[in-house]
């Protein structure tokens, strides 16, 4: 008993007070800012160098749904690209993940795209079933961390449940391997309506570094409406929780 009390005394209060404003390390790779005066030639060399074709060779935009946040574009042209440590990069509008040169505005959810029943029913209680479909376990670990003593998304009634039958939606991680395609379908079918789909991490949103390999089957993404995109490699718990709060209209 005394040992527990000693450990808990050192433990103190661990919950992050405000998940909207919590600071992260300066080097955290969040929303990038691309200079408005980036030249065509610079765009060409950056687009050719990007390992995941996240940089558009015409517009020079960075697609956060494809980006693995390796920062090599910033290392190549530090005066033109900066990855800020703004972790609020989740959105429900896939186009909202495309960052254009000259654009330095926060990424948020578009309230008009949110189904009315989602905010009405899940605002105070959102139970999610996680499906790892080829994920490398970094996103899965971060999603697990989102419920820990520090991030505590449970304070908003958000938690992961053991059965799809108990869930209001699924959170997919991983590029969706062919070997998981059927299990993903079955899990989704088992979730009662109304339900939502969240994609967490670059691999889930676009396939990431695995996009194009024959071992994947991403037809699920093509056949279903996605309610929230949470970029990252892996998606940081703060990105995930803030994204859901935005989706649900929590202040």
């Amino acid at each position: 008993m005394l040992k527990e009390l000693k450990a808990l005394k050192s433990h103190g209060r661990q919950a992050i007070k405000n998940l909207r404003t919590q600071a992260v390390s300066p080097l955290f790779r969040g929303r990038p800012v691309i200079s408005g005066n980036i030249t065509g030639e610079e765009i060409n060399s950056l687009a050719a160098m990007c390992p995941v074709r996240a940089i558009n060779e015409n517009t020079g935009s960075i697609d956060l749904g494809r980006c693995v946040f390796c920062r090599e574009c910033e290392f190549m042209k530090p005066e033109k690209i900066t990855f800020t440590n703004d972790y609020r990069i989740a959105t429900n509008d896939r186009k909202g993940l495309i960052i254009n040169p000259g654009q330095d505005i926060p990424i948020r959810c578009d309230g008009n795209l949110v189904r009315k029943d989602v905010r009405k029913l899940f605002r105070e209680s959102l139970k999610l079933r996680q499906v790892s479909a080829g994920g490398d376990n970094s996103c899965e670990t971060e999603l697990g961390a989102a419920g820990n003593v520090n991030f505590d998304m449970g304070r908003y009634g958000i938690e992961f449940v053991a059965s799809p039958r108990h869930a209001d939606g699924i959170v997919i991680t991983g590029p969706i391997s062919e070997n998981m395609a059927r299990a993903l379908d079955l899990t989704w079918e088992a979730v009662p309506d109304p339900k939502i789909i969240i994609l967490a991490g670059t691999d889930a949103i676009s396939g990431g570094i695995f996009d194009g390999t024959p071992a994947l089957d991403r037809s699920f993404i093509e056949n279903h409406h996605i309610d929230l995109f949470v970029p990252g490699n892996p998606a940081h718990p703060l990105t995930f929780i803030n994204g859901i709060m935005d989706l649900l209209g929590i202040e």
């Binding site: 390390s25 790779r29 920062r71 996680q130 499906v131 070997n179």
Partner: protein, 511 residues
């Protein structure tokens, strides 16, 4: 490669973290000589197979076997070309089960038959498998016909937030008679991508994505392999930095695993405190390189995130904090009767079983097997740091839990010592090398002691120095069978704590 005549050497010898060798130096043995050499080698407990695979190049299939000799830090390499039509080898698995996974993989990828192999179970249903008619959805699980037994199937989607795999239990009431594990759900085609992606940066990103919880481990195995094939050297300072990053990864996971084990036995203070401590460690990695898993930190030839004095100070401060608080909570955990009641003598694997099934890493060390690459085949800055592995004898969940505890403090000791050494080193900031040229017609092997055990990356180049074959071996390849053995005759309700006590990688196995 020329076929070996009598009296010629039977294998070539290489060492970990050394420049690559010519493929032509690998002796090509006939069937009997090949099989005999494997069996003779494995009779010695200090030798174990670190990799054994097939390479198809220009219509020829060649099998390469790599046996590590822990007694002198060397790796013996030899090869065999099976028959073109109906390739058949005698299976060594019946005598040495540790080879089962390799023979099954060769069979799955190339259709090579292994005579008298006890069970050529599919490994991962890769997209390029030899028999495409077999799919993961129609796998026939081992079953026993009895009215007293029932089957319990778990997965691929499990209760927790973890990766998928299928566990098929055959139970008598609550007692597990047999567990069969089927993996492959996470297969993404990693090895093919290493070959087809003829781009250094893409390969780096790929290496970090093999198993994201072992980003530093796999990225280091890859970088070390590339440096070997390109005959690149890195400074001692950078070698020390890499080891510090590897130990930070080990420390974070061991604390996180302790939290998970506490959670599974409903010991809330243990779970809550350890979760917070893990955050402390990975946030330190994030302070260093901007990513909680160390993605982006390790690159061939250099780094984008050289360690700074400020980050080094933060690391030391963090280890002070962890020493105190992890020490307090583990003191509490391992003296709590309710926890010990759930850990002690649960999920036991004997030393004999461990040797037989070929376990590596903490899963080996927890049942008395002294296997640790940091000691036997030291790499990077471990070559300057004599390391004694933590060895426990009882082989149960308690031993695996204690492994995390003791190794965490070992990691802290290593981090502190190496950081101290690093401060005295000349700081040569070298950027990553992406335009490396690999030696032609060469091969190399790179061994790293990741937190789950030995990681082995190996590759072969063609006449132009292009990679024609890349093999990844995550320690989970060896260790999944240990879990299946450990739960026999245990209560099925103890399965979660047994599974978590091993904490093996699904994606590392499936590739």
């Amino acid at each position: 490669m020329t076929a070996v005549k009598m009296n010629q050497k039977q294998f070539t010898v290489i060492r970990n973290n050394s420049p690559s060798s010519a493929v032509s130096e690998i002796p090509l043995l006939d069937h009997d000589a090949f099989i005999n050499l494997i069996t003779r080698s494995l009779k010695d407990e200090e030798k174990h197979c670190i990799s054994y695979y097939g390479v198809r190049f220009k219509e020829r299939l060649t099998l390469y076997c790599f046996i590590a000799d822990d007694s002198n830090g060397s790796i013996n390499v030899f090869a065999h070309e099976p028959a073109v039509n109906d390739p058949l080898l005698k299976s060594v698995t019946a005598e040495f089960s540790q080879l089962h996974i390799f023979e099954r993989e060769i069979h799955e990828n190339f259709g090579v038959k292994f005579e008298d192999h006890p069970w050529l179970k599919p490994v991962r249903y890769p997209s390029h498998r030899h028999d495409k008619a077999q799919t993961i959805d129609n796998y026939p699980f081992y079953s026993i016909d009895s009215e007293e037994l029932h089957e319990v199937g778990v997965g691929p989607v499990h209760a927790g937030v973890i990766e998928p795999g299928h566990f098929r239990f055959i139970c008598n009431g609550e007692k597990v008679l047999h567990l069969e594990i089927q993996l492959g759900y996470q297969h993404r085609g990693v090895e093919e991508l290493f070959v087809s992606m003829n781009n250094a940066l893409q390969r780096c990103i790929l290496s970090e994505s093999i198993a994201g919880d072992t980003s530093v481990g796999h990225a280091l195995a890859h970088s070390q392999l590339i440096e070997s094939l390109a005959h690149l050297e890195v400074s001692e300072g950078l070698q020390a930095e890499r080891c510090i990053a590897l130990e930070l990864e080990r420390l974070a996971i061991h604390i996180g695993d302790t939290a998970a084990l506490c959670g599974d036995v409903a010991y809330q203070p243990g779970q809550a405190v350890c979760e917070a401590l893990r955050t402390l460690v990975i946030n330190t990695t994030q302070l260093w390189c901007g990513n909680r898993f160390g993605k982006g930190l390790v690159r061939p030839g250099g780094t984008n995130y050289p360690l700074t004095g400020e980050v080094a100070d933060a690391i030391i401060m963090m280890t002070d904090d962890i020493t105190k608080r992890f020490g307090e909570i583990t003191d509490s955990i391992y003296s709590s009767p309710s926890v010990l009641g759930r850990f002690d003598e649960i999920g036991t694997m004997t030393r004999k079983q461990g040797l037989s099934t070929g376990v590596v890493g903490p899963s080996a060390r927890m049942c008395g097997i002294d296997r640790d690459i940091r000691k036997s085949h030291p790499f990077q800055y471990y070559r300057k740091h004599s390391y004694q592995p933590v060895i426990l004898e009882t082989g149960d969940v308690l031993a695996r839990g204690m492994m995390r505890n003791l190794e965490a403090f070992e990691s802290i000791r290593i981090i502190r010592k190496m950081t101290e050494d690093w401060r005295d080193k000349v700081k040569e900031i070298s950027k990553p090398v992406y335009d490396y040229k690999l030696k032609p017609e060469s091969f190399s092997v790179s061994l790293i002691e990741g937190w789950r055990g030995e990681i082995c990356h190996s590759a072969m180049t063609d006449i132009n120095g292009n990679i024609i074959h890349y093999k990844v071996k995550d320690p989970s390849m060896h260790n999944w069978s240990a879990l299946a053995l450990a739960v026999r005759n245990q209560e099925i309700s103890d399965f979660p704590v047994c599974n978590k006590s091993f904490n093996l990688s699904y994606c590392g196995h499936d590739l």
